[in-house]
């Protein structure tokens, strides 16, 4: 890849957009987080563990994890109906499936944990940004987890493999590869791909996405640390 190649927003192929994660951003939720990744602005809230309702759905050996990925009507260029689309239903399912790998559901039999993700502004790679925020919200809620979950995407545009696919690249590019991993357990828990990639290109894209994910993992940790720091400050105040 030539050094001169610059993406539509000026990035190098292996360059992430700017990002920022904040934990504990909502007052009412048991846990919450906000992520900004490029112009993506996504909020995740966690309610639970709590009594599951209705009773007949309860699982006796573990908690039920509910997950909703949702885009607000103004989050996209064309106004989106607030009713969940087939795409949103599919993404809710794959995100839930990924988070289920990390959350220790067996600790809360007969209960449920709700994860609500709201995309306030969409700018490409929303699903991996969403799962990254959702994992922080779960940790913020104090839910026991085997590991965090963090996601990043890679793709291909004009024949080049790129990381952290932006909206324009998603629409105009040749392939999109969103992944999410448990960073310490080194397991892939979300993996989708569309477009066309040779096996070789896939390898390159996969590695780039992994690197991106590990960067965002640092940011997740920072976000959670500052919440703990805040708590310590508050506890300190308490002691006075």
């Amino acid at each position: 890849m030539s050094e001169e190649f610059r993406r539509v927003d000026g990035r190098k192929p292996d360059e992430m957009r700017s990002y920022k994660i904040k934990a504990h951003v909502l007052k009412n939720a048991d846990g919450s987080a906000e992520i900004r990744l490029g112009k993506n602005w996504i909020v995740a809230a966690v309610y639970g563990p709590k009594e599951h309702f209705p009773k007949f759905e309860v699982l006796h050996d573990r908690a039920i994890l509910n997950c909703r990925y949702h885009m607000t009507p103004y989050s996209t260029s064309e106004r989106k109906s607030p009713k969940p689309s087939r795409r949103e239903i599919e993404l809710s399912k794959v995100i839930r499936s990924a988070l289920e790998q990390a959350v220790i559901l067996e600790e809360y039999p007969e209960m449920s944990i709700d994860v609500f993700i709201e995309v306030l502004q969409a700018d490409g790679s929303t699903r991996v940004a969403s799962i990254t925020a959702a994992a922080v919200a779960l940790a913020d809620a104090g839910i026991p987890m085997k590991d965090l979950v963090v996601g990043c995407s890679a793709g291909k545009i004009n024949g080049r493999i790129i990381v952290d696919v932006g909206e324009y690249e998603d629409k105009e590019g040749e392939a999109d590869l969103p992944i999410a991993i448990m960073p310490n357990l080194r397991r892939v828990v979300l993996l989708q791909m569309d477009g066309k990639l040779t096996h070789e290109e896939f390898k390159k894209a996969f590695d780039m996405a992994l690197k991106g994910a590990y960067k965002l993992y640092e940011e997740q940790i920072n976000a959670l640390k500052s919440v703990i720091k805040n708590m310590e400050v508050l506890e300190g105040e308490d002691r006075e």
Binding site: R68, T72, P73
Partner: protein
């Protein structure tokens, strides 16, 4: 109101309500506010860069985001010479323990319709100017808002967000669209040159709660449940009433007028906060 019914309330919510009631009987509010005092208000506009207009408003711990979208559409047969305004709001499931995903319930529909009526009846937007071709093509303006966190007084917060998003929106230049009327099919409305939205009024909604025959403004979630009655009164820029909605309970005949007078005073206060954020009728 909200919080009622079989979904019930969390224990912490119940305890707060008990505390609110106890304090009310002592003439106090849980956050030591005056009865006619608003919580801190924060207004940020253009928070969604990709929308035509947007705002994030917080009223204490209540948080709302509103966005504006323009589309080309067909006018309603009974108003062929008017643009279309559609106001829809939802309480997101992030907003509270009791909030649910799914189609809007009756409280969300009431919330949307009260905000809608304020904007529509105050004639804030010059809908009759949004006509590309009489009876055939007009602007369709979507004002969507979402409650992200619910600590009560959703109507006042949503109204502020809606008004701020609309007033600061950049809309596709209608003259440009008219000049390209023969190529309407190939116009991408997002790429039309933009001009500021003209506004003619700013409706300001003020919601009051009544407890032990005393009014409070800007009720929190717990206060909304603790009070006997709730009423929203919306004023125009000129001090006219443009929307009233008794949300809960009842009022004596005299209290109706008392409520209107309080709402008028507070409307002026909110109006000056908007003005400080650069939002006013020119």
């Amino acid at each position: 109101m909200r919080g009622e019914g079989f979904r019930g309330l969390t224990l912490s919510e119940l305890l707060t309500i008990k505390q609110v009631e106890k304090l009310f009987s002592e003439g106090r509010r849980i956050d030591e506010r005056g009865f006619l005092e608003f919580r801190e208000i924060e207004i940020n506009t253009n928070v969604i860069e990709k929308a035509f207009g947007s705002a994030r408003v917080s009223l204490g711990d209540t948080v709302v985001v509103a966005g504006v979208n323009f589309e080309l559409g067909t006018p309603f047969p009974d108003s062929p010479d008017k643009g279309i305004l559609i106001v829809e709001g939802e309480v997101l499931p992030t907003a509270s323990f009791g909030a649910e995903a799914g189609p809007p319930n009756e409280y969300e529909i009431e919330l949307s319709r009260v905000v809608d009526r304020g904007i529509r009846e105050s004639e804030m937007l010059p809908l009759e100017e949004y006509v590309i071709k009489h009876g055939e093509v007009v602007y369709k303006i979507f004002l969507d808002f979402n409650i992200i966190n619910d600590d009560g007084n959703l109507i006042d917060a949503a109204n502020l967000a809606a008004v701020a998003a609309l007033a600061t929106a950049k809309m596709p230049d209608i003259n440009y669209v008219k000049e390209h009327i023969d190529e309407l099919n190939s116009i991408n409305i997002k790429e039309v040159p933009k001009v500021g939205v003209k506004i003619r009024d700013l409706p300001i909604a003020v919601t009051l709660g009544l407890k032990n025959n005393k009014f409070i403004v800007d009720p929190t979630f717990a206060e909304e449940i603790a009070v006997e009655s709730l009423i929203t009164i919306t004023h125009t820029n000129k001090g006219e009433l443009c929307s009233i909605q008794l949300l809960k309970g009842g009022l004596t005949f005299e209290q109706v007028f008392e409520a209107i007078n309080i709402a008028y005073e507070k409307n002026i206060e909110l109006r000056s906060i908007l003005e400080r954020n650069g939002i006013k009728v020119i």
